[in-house]
Amino acid sequence: MSVAVYREFARVGFVNILAFRLRYYTGVLTYFLNVTVYYFIWKALYAADPNFAGFTFPEIVTYVAVGWMIRSLYFNNIDQDMAQDVMEGKISMALIKPVSVQWMYISQALGETVFRLAMLSAPVALALALVFPVRPPKSPAHGALFLLSLVGSVLLVAALNFIVGSCAVRLKSILGLLRAKFFVQELFSGLLIPMTLFPATAQKVLACLPFQHIGYTPMLIYLGRLSYPQIALALALQALWVALLAAFGAWFWKVMARKITIHGG
C-alpha cells in the first residue's frame, strides 16, 4: 500500500468538505465569541493579580487567542464520523477495501484539516489579530517550531479520535463518550486554563498524559516559555505519543473489528 493512496484519501476529504462550506462561516463566529468571552474573564482576573498563573496579561491574551486558533486546526470529526458509519452500517464499505481503516479515516481528516486551515483557522487568526492585542511568536525560530508542533497536535488528535471512534463498534452510540472526551481534551490540553493553574500533583499526573501535547506544548513554544533543549524534548514526547496512540489504535481497531455486527441490508 503506497502513500499515494492515503494522499488521495486526504484529497477526497478535502473535496468532500467543499460541500459544507457554509458551516465554516458560522464556525469563524463561534471561535471569535469564545475568545472574546475568555478575554473578559481573564481581564477581570488580572485586575486583581497582574501575574496570575505565571503569565502576564498580554501573554494570557495571546495564549487564549492562539489556543483557540490552533484548536480550529487540530479539531476533527473522526470519532463522530466513525460512530455514524457504524450505526448506518457504512463501515462495511471501508472493510471491503484493501486499505488500513485507521489511516483511511486519519487521511481523510487530514484533508479536511488543510481545508480548515484555509476556511477557518486563517480567518479566525486574522479576526483575532485585528481585535485583540495578540503577540507574534517570540522569534521566527519559535514560530517555525510552533508550526512543527502543530503537525504533532493534528496527528495526536487524529490518533486519539480514531481510538474513541473504534469504541463505537461495541457501544454503537458513543455520544456520552464523545462529550466526555470533549471536556477532558479541552481542559487537559490547556485550552480552557493553562496547566499552571492545576494543583501540583495534578500537573505531575497530567504531564504523563498525552492531552497537554495537543495545545499546551505548542502554546509554550509560541510564547517562548521553553528553552531549545526543552522544546526538543517536548517535540520528541509529542512524536512518541503519536506513535504510541497510533499503534494502540491499530491494535484496538483489530480487536473491535472482530466484534462488528451489522444486521440486514
Binding site: 477526497v12 467543499l18 464499505m93 472493510l95 451489522i262
Partner: protein, 338 residues
C-alpha cells in the same frame, strides 16, 4: 485458487440485548442485562467453482447477507471456515479484498458528496490499476452501462439506477476474479434491471468472473444463474441447478377449464375426481389443482372432457416463484426436496 469459494460449516451467532419495556424495565436494564444469542447462519457449507454464477436466495432475515459479509471479510465467523480465492477472508482482509469486488444494492461504495470520477480515481489508486487498464476497463463498462455521462456528477445526485451502474463499474475496475453482489437489482426499474443483468452476463462471459449474488427477484436467477442455493433460518435448504429444483419440488399442476356454457358447471361439479381440488373462478371458469405425482394432466383432461362440454383447456405449471414461496412458508416441503 482465484475465483473459488469454499465454505465449511460457516456459522454466525449474534448476541442481542433484550430490552425490557416501560420505566421499570428501563431501570432494570441498567443493572441486569439479558442477552439472547441468535444464530443467523448455521453450519453452511458449499463450494463454488471459478467462473460459476450462483444465486443465493432466501426470505428476509434468512442469513443471506450475513453469509456474504463473512465471505467478504466484514464479519468474522463464530465457527467454521471460509477459504475464498485462497485466502481466509477475515484474517487476510487487506490482501484478500484486493482480489474481490463487492456490490451492495442498498449501499454505495462511492463517496457520496464527490463526483463519480473522483471515487473511481481513488479506487484506481487503491487497487493499483494502471492508467491504461483503467481506461480500457472504463471503456468496456461504458459499452453496456453507459456511465461516462455521469462521471462528473456527485453520487448523491444520481438516480438509484445510475448509481447502481456506477457501483458495478467501481467494483470491477480492478478486474477481480470474484464478485459478490448483495441484492444488486433491488429497487431498480425493469430497464435498469435488464441492463444490470446484461452487464453481469457480459462480464462473466468475457472475464470468467465468478459471481455470487443474493436477490429477492427470481428472474435475476433465471436470467443469470445455472445454480441456486436457498437458505432459510440460517440453513441451506437447497443447492443445485434451477432445473433440478423444478424437478424435485415442482409438485402442483393446474388445469384451467373454460366451459362452453354455465349449465355445464353442474356436470363438472358432479364428476368424481379423486384428490383434485376444484375451484370456481367465475361463471365459466374452473381451476383444477392436483399433485403431479398422483395424476397426469392428460388423464385429468380426458376425464373432464368425456363428461363435460369444454371450450378451452389451459395447463399451467407452478412457477419458480411459487415453488420458492412454498419453500419459504411451509417447513414440511423442505424434507420433500432432500
Amino acid at each position: 485458487m482465484p475465483g473459488e469459494v469454499q465454505a465449511e460449516g460457516l456459522t454466525k451467532d449474534f448476541r442481542t440485548f433484550q430490552r425490557k419495556e416501560g420505566i421499570r424495565g428501563a431501570i432494570e436494564n441498567l443493572f441486569v442485562r439479558q442477552y439472547q444469542t441468535v444464530r443467523a447462519v448455521d453450519k453452511v457449507s458449499f463450494r463454488i467453482q471459478p467462473g460459476e454464477m450462483v444465486g443465493y436466495i432466501g426470505p428476509n432475515g434468512a442469513g443471506k447477507s450475513t453469509t456474504v459479509k463473512m465471505l467478504t471479510g466484514i464479519l468474522a465467523p463464530t465457527e467454521g471456515t471460509a477459504l475464498v480465492n485462497g485466502f481466509v477472508p477475515y484474517r487476510d482482509r487487506t490482501r484478500y479484498t484486493r482480489t474481490i469486488g463487492v456490490v451492495f444494492g442498498q449501499r454505495t461504495q462511492l463517496w457520496w458528496d464527490i463526483a463519480v470520477v473522483e471515487s473511481f480515481r481513488l479506487l484506481q489508486r487503491i487497487y493499483e490499476v494502471s492508467d491504461s487498464d483503467y481506461k480500457t476497463q472504463l471503456d468496456t463498462f461504458d459499452q453496456v452501462l453507459e456511465i461516462k455521462r455521469y462521471l462528473n456528477t456527485p453520487v448523491r445526485k444520481l438516480s438509484l439506477g445510475e448509481r447502481m451502474r456506477c457501483d458495478l463499474a467501481a467494483s470491477l475496475l480492478h478486474n477481480p476474479p470474484l464478485l459478490f453482489l448483495d441484492e444488486p437489482t433491488i429497487g431498480l426499474d425493469v430497464v435498469a434491471k435488464t441492463n444490470v443483468r446484461q452487464f453481469l452476463k457480459e462480464v462473466n462471459r468475457r472475464f470468467g468472473t465468478t459471481m455470487l449474488l443474493t436477490t429477492h427477484d427470481l428472474s435475476d436467477i433465471e436470467e443469470l444463474c445455472k445454480r441456486l442455493m436457498i437458505i432459510d433460518h440460517g440453513r441451506v435448504l437447497f443447492d443445485g441447478a434451477l432445473a433440478e429444483l423444478k424437478r424435485q419440488l415442482w409438485q402442483q399442476m393446474w388445469v384451467r377449464i373454460e366451459l362452453r356454457e354455465p349449465a355445464q358447471a353442474q356436470a363438472l361439479e358432479s364428476l368424481s375426481l379423486n384428490n383434485i381440488h376444484r375451484e370456481r373462478l367465475d361463471e365459466l371458469t374452473y381451476r383444477l389443482v392436483f399433485d403431479r405425482e398422483e395424476h397426469t394432466a392428460g388423464e385429468v383432461i380426458r376425464q373432464v372432457v368425456s363428461e363435460v362440454d369444454v371450450r378451452d383447456v389451459f395447463i399451467q405449471e407452478e412457477s419458480i416463484e411459487e415453488i420458492v414461496r412454498r419453500i419459504y412458508t411451509g417447513p414440511s416441503v423442505l424434507e420433500f426436496g432432500r
